[in-house]
Subunit: 126 residues, 2 copies
């Protein structure tokens, strides 16, 4: 069934949240306080892909990892560097990124504000 | 192979473009001057989904149509209404939408500025 998740946050306060979307906070030894919001996903009945929003705090980064599925990413706010295999690239809002399956990668928040981006994966990779 | 398409436009001028991405302008009897940019897609080697940016001019709308594949959408800028089957909903920036396969739908720009949104589809629907 089709579904709309209205944005109910306030970007001026780095408050990103959506109606009907429960954020999950990921903290491990490797990453701290990454917020994950599934904007379009299994609960909506999506058959083939999942669209997530991630927020990485100042000084934080995502897992440095690899997996068989690919990522399609779009930076929404903040400044970042991405490492894909051996190569580092600067990222700014609206930059679009394809991370191929199997490529080791991580995203580092290099700015003074939280970093936010959209990350799409195939459903099998969710 | 992984790929980055850096944003090289100027949002303050409603200029949205990306390095290495060729925009396509769609004009038919039904829709006028819709710009489509494939941000992550077959040319990048994506195996399972395609991430596109669409810009709809003031007064414009997308096709009122249905198809077997689903959409995952995120409004980036502008104001809109979406019709899904019989129901209309207002949309603002950062609203996330899942349009299920088979649901008749269209997006109408209701604002005084161009409307821009991300639309993800499975690769078979591209």
């Amino acid at each position: 069934m089709s579904m709309i998740h209205h944005f109910i946050g306030d970007p001026s306060k780095n408050d990103y949240c959506w109606k009907g979307v429960q954020a999950e906070v990921i903290s491990t030894e490797e990453v701290k306080d990454i917020a994950k919001h599934i904007l379009v996903g299994p609960e909506d009945g999506t058959p083939s892909f999942v669209m997530r929003y991630f927020q990485v705090p100042v000084g934080g980064q995502t897992f440095f990892h690899t997996h068989a599925h690919e990522h399609g990413m779009l930076i929404l706010h903040g400044q970042a560097k991405i490492q894909i295999k051996e190569e580092w690239s600067d990222l700014s809002p609206l930059d679009a990124i394809f991370v191929a399956g199997g490529d080791l990668h991580r995203v580092v928040n290099t700015g003074n504000e939280p970093l936010g981006f959209i990350c799409v994966i195939p459903k099998l990779g969710s």
